[in-house]
């Protein structure tokens, strides 16, 4: 590894792989850093060593990722897997950690492609072992083909139906699907349908998943108004509110999902300006048409800059790379614009369906802002919705003050699982907009590292480490 690169890319999902390969293809020295041991991000997770016998389970869209992985593998990108980035500074210094050692390096341009995470789904009992994200269930399918039979799928959004459909294809029994899509969504989504019709194959595919799930005999319960997971040390049942009463289903596994949101921690801690997206109900970095953030030389691309899906992420990654190459003086303006033109046309085609999906699967307020005071919001510090509302009553103005009131957001996940919920609760209690309340302030290290690793940074690399020498 070198101390400096033309371009460092963080995250080896579709956006990061495409950005890195595009940049290296134009002669830049490129480092691609990723937390996972194999490339692909979550969407193409474990693809390079996937050994499921039945390829129909994960489907052709998953295996299509081979093309991008091959492009990366045949490129001159220096790929650094199994490595965590714990800091990106405004001066473009990157702190990384892997194999028990930390180090610092710099890059003329940094492209943050940290993707998305599942939106928090704060309901009673969502911390019980056996309750997981539907995305988590899909990660288990992709890594070692691990399944949890007789699970109850709960929520809304394409990924929920996709994972349920993958279980169906795999012949794994599903106990029930509890659909929380609010009733009014279909009507509101209709306004975006004409534009979405341009991507008819995607619409048909989604309809097919749902109709096949319903035809399969799995209990498919619509208009679920509330849910709670119950059990002692692990989940034993799920209770749901529908048609004016509580119902109960015994189960040892619950998969929750209500969409995905940008994974913003690294870009926020770097100081990149973020904006509230009211259509997608999330924060994302403010970027220009070349994905550059408010900090010169730091770009944010892919789902981390707003949710548009894997194909859009790949295209956006290439556009971000062209912008970075241009700022490195490795390509001129004419070349940048010429190379970006087909990508921009492809991106425009890809995003047509998004406003329709955003409106159709917009999670309802009561599943984002838990009405029940007992519901845990901050899983790490076990701070409830009631404790947050109490803090607001005492004068708490926003999520940063909330930390001193309650420790909400100060555990190991650093707000990844609670900051959206906490901010929305405060906004509702104070009768303010989320944009006015503001995001939880984040600081490096954004991922924990050992004190020893941090201390070793003080030893210049050419000097023997007294600990081992």
């Amino acid at each position: 590894m070198k101390p400096n690169y033309d371009i460092a890319v963080i995250g080896a999902g579709p956006a990061g792989m495409a950005a890195a390969a595009t940049a290296a293809g134009q002669g830049a020295t490129v480092l691609l850093i990723d937390e996972q041991d194999t490339p692909g991000g979550q969407i193409y997770r474990s693809l390079s060593r996937q050994n499921l016998k039945d390829k129909a389970i994960l489907g052709p869209e998953y295996y299509a990722g081979h093309k991008l992985i091959a492009e990366l593998e045949t490129s001159r990108v220096e790929y650094c897997p199994g490595t965590t980035v714990w800091q990106v500074s405004e001066e473009r210094e990157i702190g990384i950690s892997g194999n028990g050692a930390a180090r610092l390096l710099t890059a003329d341009q940094i492209i943050i492609a940290t993707g998305a995470q599942e939106r928090p789904f704060p309901v009673l009992g969502w911390t019980l072992p056996g309750v997981m994200g539907a995305g988590a269930a899909q990660v288990l399918l992709k890594t070692g083909g691990v399944t949890l039979p007789d699970a109850v799928f709960v929520g809304t959004g394409p990924l929920l139906y996709l994972v349920a459909h993958q279980y169906l294809r795999a012949g794994i029994p599903i106990k029930a699907i509890l659909d929380t899509t609010p009733q009014g969504n279909t009507f509101r989504a209709l306004a975006h349908l004409p534009k979405a019709l341009a991507d008819l194959p995607s619409l048909i595919k989604g309809r097919r998943w749902i109709s096949q799930l319903r035809a399969s005999g799995i209990a498919f319960i619509k208009h679920v108004g509330d849910v709670r997971c119950v059990g002692e040390d692990t989940v034993e049942a799920i209770e749901y509110w529908q048609s004016g009463q509580w119902n109960r289903i015994e189960t040892q596994a619950v998969f929750l999902h209500q969409g995905v949101v940008p994974n913003v921690n690294l870009a926020m801690a770097a100081g990149c300006e973020h904006i509230w997206n009211n259509a997608q109900l999330c924060w994302h970095a403010k970027t220009d048409k070349w994905s550059q953030s408010s900090i010169p030389g730091i770009s944010v691309t892919g789902d981390g800059a707003g949710i548009n899906g894997a194909k859009s992420a790949e295209i956006s990654g290439r556009i971000a790379a062209l912008g970075a190459l241009h700022r490195c003086d490795l390509i001129d303006t004419a070349a940048r614009d010429r190379l970006a033109a087909p990508a921009r046309r492809a991106l425009a085609r890809e995003v047509r369906i998004r406003p329709f999906l955003d409106a159709l699967f917009r999670p309802s307020q009561n599943f984002r802002v838990p009405a029940n005071d007992q519901t845990i919001v901050c899983r790490c510090e076990e701070v409830t919705a009631g404790a947050i509302r109490e803090a607001v009553d005492l004068g708490c103005m926003g999520p940063n003050q909330l930390k001193s009131f309650t420790r909400c957001g100060m555990g190991p996940c650093q707000g990844r699982m609670c900051s959206l919920t906490a901010t929305e609760i405060i906004a509702q209690s104070r009768n303010e907009t989320v944009a006015n309340i503001g995001a939880m302030r984040l600081r490096p290290p954004v991922k924990p590292l050992l004190l020893g690793e941090l201390a070793d940074l003080a030893i210049p690399p050419d000097e023997p480490n007294p600990k081992v020498g």
Partner: protein
């Protein structure tokens, strides 16, 4: 928990709470534990509540376990290695001198 049919897996033997369990190369510790029927990975430091894997992608830090004596390890982000000794993390992790290797 059943596994889907796969081609050419290499099995690896690990230990959870002193019990030998089987896993496969490439498994995360979390996937290995879940596939052996273990859902409860730790107790929280605040209320002593049980927790297990939740996000499976390194975001939520709920799957923290102790591996070979080192605490606060994300089970979903750590690949199994033959002979790993894994324990539930009880409350906050212990800090003691170690060489930082898994």
């Amino acid at each position: 928990m059943p596994r889907l049919d796969r081609n050419g897996d290499t099995s690896v033997s690990i230990e959870f709470e002193g019990v030998a369990i089987s896993a496969f190369e490439g498994d995360s510790v979390a996937a290995a534990l879940l596939s052996n029927g273990y859902r409860n990975f730790r107790d929280t430091p605040v209320n002593g509540a049980s927790r297990g894997a939740f996000c499976m992608m390194g975001v939520c830090f709920d799957c923290l376990v102790e591996i070979n004596g080192i605490g606060n390890i994300q089970a979903c982000m750590t690949e199994v290695r033959a002979g790993m000794h894994i324990r539930r993390q009880r409350g906050a992790r212990d800090i003691h001198a170690q060489d930082g290797s898994l």
